[in-house]
Symmetry: C2
Subunit: 237 residues, 2 copies
DNA sequence: CGCGTAAAGTCTACATCGTAGACAAGCTTC
DNA sequence: GAAGCTTGTCTACGATGTAGACTTTACGCG
């Protein structure tokens, strides 16, 4: 199908509300959600707002900055979860929160995992760093030393991002064609080289992301029950 | 500095070897390693090979396919590790192998984690699926049921990708300016909002990726020692 | 050897992109 | 009303991916 040129939101191109960074980012996010990252061009976004593309540069220095703004906007959706009994339950809940966020904005996930690669930690937008601070506080309050808290955070968030990437990879839009496509794909694999993978066809077909995530978190928490070892150097083998 | 236009490899633009998919992908990878993803344009790659940009389309359908080719090429570098005592040591070693691969080609990592999002599992290039099959075999041989093996694989690889993303984020090229930049960045953070993060400055400054990864794997393996629970549905809370 | 066919490489052309720079319109504050 | 800043617009340029027609090269078969 040809790329749909109709405006995403309801403005019938007649009204012209005053622009603002927030409005720009919001419609940018809507556009990405609806049509993917490639659809977010300066020109298209301008047209979506009924404005000259150049006007956008008053609110974002360039396209990259605009992308950063969108990721920050998405991360702001992360609701903090106050007052759960223990830190473990809290970690679990935050994990599910991030997962749902990713499912709500799958097209933004590449940005989420990729944009920070270009910006050193200290210089990232504050919204991006807030979850980190929260989890550190949570862990330290739970009794971890600050440095251990950092390590735990890394394991936790690392796993979390990894899970999200995994889940989105296996996600196929239409569940009807899902199985067909999957089987077709698996069938394509040479039987001698990929016996186990092919045998897993049925299991792969019904993927339960929430359960999978939960199981992973359980593994992680169980592992954390064993006290962390502190070593002077990385083990030789 | 202006973008360096000198050819990356040693060909002095006089010789014109016959093109091949392998040659194209190899120089593409070299270009990405040397100058980043953005430098990999059809025109630039053509110039690198001393050929018309259009000739590339004989070996890759379009730019996206070229990127896929590069990721597959990188994954082929993953050396399989035969004959280690137990499966745990093997997982650990493969993890370090992937980590080193990522450090060798940091600019390709975004592709590694991002490209599969656009391609359903069954239709991915074979090279991409080979590690999956290998780990499944490893786990099943170690006594896991096929379906448990899949879950463990997901937790393992998820964590692994997450760690790599984490590590590359905190990686700064010049270790001299590292500390400066880091402190500068941290100093920029509002003290009331980010007390723990700011306090971690020194710990953040000396990051040991290998040790961090090792610790994470240990946590994961410890967690796996506790038998996996099988639930009918995801827990309510 | 020669010739015909397929493969490999090239040329031209076009739509689309990000964005620099000069300018105009509109709002705020005396 | 005038001055000055903010916001939006216009025009223009270089770079990008790639379609389509063309030319060149390589190679098999008589």
């Amino acid at each position: 199908m040809p790329p749909p040129k109709n405006p995403i939101n309801s403005s019938p191109a007649g009204e012209k509300p005053r622009l603002s960074r927030d409005l720009v980012l919001t419609t940018a996010l809507a556009l990405v959600d609806a049509e993917g990252l490639d659809a977010l061009t300066m020109r298209r976004l301008g047209q979506e707002l009924g404005r000259d593309p150049m006007s956008l540069y008053r609110y974002a220095a360039n396209r990259a900055a605009l992308l950063d703004g969108v990721t920050e906007l998405v991360l702001k959706e992360l609701s903090i979860s106050p007052g759960l009994p223990d830190w473990q339950a809290q970690l679990r809940q935050m994990a599910h929160g991030l997962r749902l966020l990713a499912l709500r904005h799958p097209n933004v996930v590449p940005l989420l995992v990729t944009r920070p690669l270009s910006t050193p930690l200290g210089l990232r937008p504050l919204g991006t760093l807030r979850p980190l601070e929260q989890i550190l506080a949570l862990l330290i309050d739970a009794g971890f030393s600050p440095s251990d808290a950092l390590h735990v955070y890394r394991a936790y968030y690392g796993f979390l991002y990894g899970h999200i990437l995994n889940e989105l990879q296996e996600f196929v839009v239409d569940p009807e064609e899902n199985e067909a496509l999957l089987r077709l794909g698996l069938h394509r694999l040479p039987a001698k080289e990929f016996p186990r993978l092919r045998a897993l066809g049925p299991v792969l077909a019904d993927y339960d992301g929430a359960a999978e995530l939960d199981q992973g978190i359980t593994i992680l928490l169980n592992g954390l029950a064993v006290p962390l070892v502190h070593e002077e150097a990385a083990p030789k083998h």
